[in-house]
């Protein structure tokens, strides 16, 4: 009889920090201590707190161990599993206040500040079940929603529930999902399709990957429900080849579902057939755009095509198609199972439910969080995210990746939902949230994203292909201190031109990072152009390192560390930097013990 379960995160984050060896080591140690009959090791999907990986949770106590190494396993097994004593040095106990020693045992995961403010719907099974076990998914009410729609509901009723729930597309656009399904259902055709967009391309975003890795069956179930509602019998999941763990688990999920008869012919004896296929994307960002994605599934070069006709009319292989993002689908089984009210009771007036964000950049708790719509950015960053590390000041948060904008510190109390973000010239995007502190240069950030879109533009239309390239050149000029204020006006003009004239979403949103930073951080652009200075000290062409003579003790350390011999001086006398030789690597500054070296 199993009395205790050891859950080990097998998501990509924890796998790369070494969780695979932990699984093996736990199994060995447990067998060694003769506990194999009592304790079970389960490899799950992502718990969310990737910054502290590899993470291990032991139930029924719910003790959360972070940064567990192979060497720690023996201690955990012999102390916690054999003798029932929590290994305090590894236990994660951040509940926002000091914890008394005797209370450590009673802290459950849901009490910690990272989890307390979260509400898990799309991620409900991630980190809870073994994603490779269809039985565990079923134990969590899996496939009950599919059973319900096939035996009790008409397709129209299913669509009505989704419409009532207020669910909007989680891929970034925010289009009402129920409406999208209804469009496809109303178009008659001999064949219709369901497509799941798992081509998550935004730098720093990993929501969809985590859902596929942690709960692949919910996508299988949701797509079958969508197929029933819209009249489709074939589905495709388009997923990046760079997500090997997600692909492997999805493949197994499809195979197991087929064996159980939850995919295939005559599911639940209802006469409904549904089949699912996987297509691997080669990592082109443009393939996240729905028409390009379908062109790629068809076996052609991934290029977008003009809309209309929309996919609901003429989509994959020229047939009516419903395309939704992974996270959108992940909400569907819960909405059907628990009803529209369960979902629309969360969130704001026009944005219902929850949203998953991938927290990255200058933040303590890097990882995956799911919050009700309407949570403020301040709560996400300061409470759940644990704030900006190293005592630095928060400057802005970037959302929506290369298509999105940024939210400055002054708007930190904005309640996150689709409409509020659009109102401040930002966008929800798929959920990447990159935090920046005072050391980030906003012009440099805009340049980074432009660089990305220039690389990823498919080249089909000239506003995007040529326009983004010209914008990048202007940004280069600005960061090198060679631009004029007229260039800045030109940059803005061109940005709007590209937005209005590009063929697809990639080009139409590519200028957003520039426009958003111009809106909130124009002073930084002007500092680069007029004062020839980079206020954050990032843009190398505008940067000079100087030694303050009164602080320099002449210890010679900087001169020894300088890779190009640009620092001269004699022992116990102030040193100087030869700016002609200096490559601005910053080694001198980080090594100086007297803070004598400054950026200027």
């Amino acid at each position: 009889m199993i009395r205790s379960q050891v859950l080990i995160c097998g998501g990509t984050g924890c796998t790369s920090s070494g969780s695979t060896v932990l699984v093996e080591e736990f199994e060995n140690q447990i067998a060694d201590k003769g506990l194999a009959e009592e304790v079970k090791v389960v490899k799950t999907g992502c718990f969310g707190l990737c910054a502290l990986g590899p993470v291990v949770i032991i139930y029924p106590d719910g003790t959360f161990y972070s940064k567990v190494k192979k060497e720690d396993v023996e201690e955990i097994v012999s102390e916690h599993l054999l003798k029932g004593r929590v290994v305090e040095r590894l236990a994660y106990t951040d509940v926002g206040h000091e914890v008394k020693e005797e209370d450590i045992k009673n802290i459950s995961l849901n009490d910690t500040t990272f989890y307390k403010a979260q509400k898990r719907v799309a991620l409900r099974n991630c980190g809870v079940i073994d994603p490779e076990s269809i039985d565990e998914y079923i134990a969590m009410d899996g496939y009950a929603a599919l059973g319900k729609v096939l035996t009790e509901m008409t397709p129209e009723q299913v669509i009505q529930v989704i419409k009532d729930s207020g669910l909007r597309g989680r891929g970034g656009g925010g289009f009402p999902t129920g409406l999208k399904w209804e469009f496809t259902s109303k178009n008659q055709a001999d064949q219709k399709y369901v497509v799941c967009n798992a081509d998550e391309g935004d730098p720093g975003a990993f929501m969809d990957r985590s859902v596929l890795e942690g709960d692949p069956h919910c996508i299988v179930e949701a797509m079958a429900i969508c197929g029933y509602a819209t009249g489709a019998t074939e589905g495709y999941v388009y997923v990046r080849a760079e997500y090997p763990i997600a692909v492997a688990r999805l493949k197994k999920a499809i195979k197991d579902a087929r064996e159980y008869g939850l995919l295939g012919k005559n599911i639940f004896d209802s006469g409904f057939d549904f089949n699912l296929h996987i297509r691997l994307g080669a990592g082109a960002f443009v393939c996240g755009e729905e028409t390009a994605l379908m062109t790629s599934i068809e076996g052609n070069r991934g290029e977008p095509r003009p809309r209309p006709p929309y996919p609901a009319v003429k989509g994959l292989f020229g047939k009516p198609t419903t395309e939704n993002n992974v996270e959108t689908f992940a909400n569907i089984p819960q909405i059907i199972f628990k009803g529209a009210d369960f979902f629309n009771s969360m969130g704001t007036e026009k944005s219902k439910g929850t949203k998953v964000f991938a927290l990255g950049g200058k933040i303590k708790n890097t990882g995956l969080v799911e919050i009700p719509m309407g949570t403020t950015l301040r709560d996400i960053i300061e409470v759940i995210g644990g704030g900006v590390p190293n005592g630095k000041k928060f400057k802005a948060a970037q959302t929506g990746g290369p298509s999105g904008g940024c939210i400055p510190a002054s708007l930190m109390d904005t309640e996150i939902d689709y409409d509020n973000l659009t109102a401040i010239g930002c966008m929800m995007g798929s959920g990447g949230l990159i935090v920046m502190d005072e050391d980030n240069c906003m012009v440099d950030i805009a340049k980074f994203f432009l660089n990305f879109t220039v690389d990823e533009s498919c080249g089909k239309c000239s506003p995007c292909r040529i326009g983004t390239k010209r914008m990048l050149e202007m940004l280069d000029k600005i960061t090198e201190g060679k631009a004029t204020l007229e260039d800045l006006d030109e940059l803005e003009k061109l940005a709007y031109y590209i937005k209005e004239n590009s063929l697809c979403g990639l080009g139409q949103t590519a200028p957003n990072p520039v426009l958003a930073t111009l809106r909130f951080f124009k002073d930084e652009y002007i500092a680069h152009i007029v004062d020839k200075k980079c206020p954050a000290g990032v843009c190398k062409a505008l940067l000079n390192f100087k030694i303050e003579a009164d602080k320099c003790k002449g210890c010679t350390l900087c001169a020894k560390k300088c890779p190009v011999g640009a620092i001269v001086g004699t022992v116990k006398n102030p040193h100087t930097i030869d700016t002609a030789k200096c490559i601005k690597c910053g080694v001198c500054m980080s090594n100086c013990k007297f803070d004598a070296i400054i950026k200027g």
């Binding site: 009889m1 199993i2 009395r3 205790s4 379960q5 859950l7 009592e38 139930y59 029924p60 106590d61 719910g62 054999l82 003798k83 029932g84 004593r85 045992k105 459950s108 995961l109 849901n110 809870v128 079940i129 039985d135 565990e136 079923i138 134990a139 969590m140 009410d141 496939y143 009950a144 059973g147 035996t151 159980y260 008869g261 939850l262 005559n266 639940f268 004896d269």
Partner: protein, 121 residues
């Protein structure tokens, strides 16, 4: 699988195995598993609780866990039962047979077994 009944059967069968991860149990049964406890026979007691709680269908309500030395080693194996809003009940000199009665009378019917308890019940 052709029917909802089959799906429900799998769910029933598996639910006991995942319910432990819920973390919202109303009652916590804690078995003292330090050297003193183990030497006095705490392991069969622990296993009897795990099995008995599952058989009685109480797995969603009761979490069986272990702890270190409780401090009164002469009374081992010791079992403590915590329930929100109620005084802790401590049982002493437990064995697998006594466990059955505690599950039936205390965990299921809410009446602590005074005979085995060393706290006032």
């Amino acid at each position: 699988m052709k029917s909802l009944a089959e799906l429900a059967a799998i769910r029933e069968k598996m639910q006991n195995k995942v319910v432990i991860r819920d973390g919202s149990s109303e009652i916590r049964v804690v078995v003292g598993m330090a050297t003193c406890g183990i030497a006095a026979g705490a392991r069969p007691v622990l296993n009897a609780f795990v099995e008995g709680v599952n058989e009685a269908g109480l797995a969603d309500k009761v979490a069986v866990t272990q702890t270190g030395c409780i401090g009164v080693c002469q009374f081992e194996p010791i079992v403590e039962v915590f329930e929100a809003g109620k005084e802790k009940v401590t049982y002493a000199h437990m064995d697998a047979e006594k466990v059955k009665r505690v599950i039936q009378e205390h965990l299921k019917n809410g009446k602590p077994v005074a005979e085995y308890a060393i706290t006032n019940v």
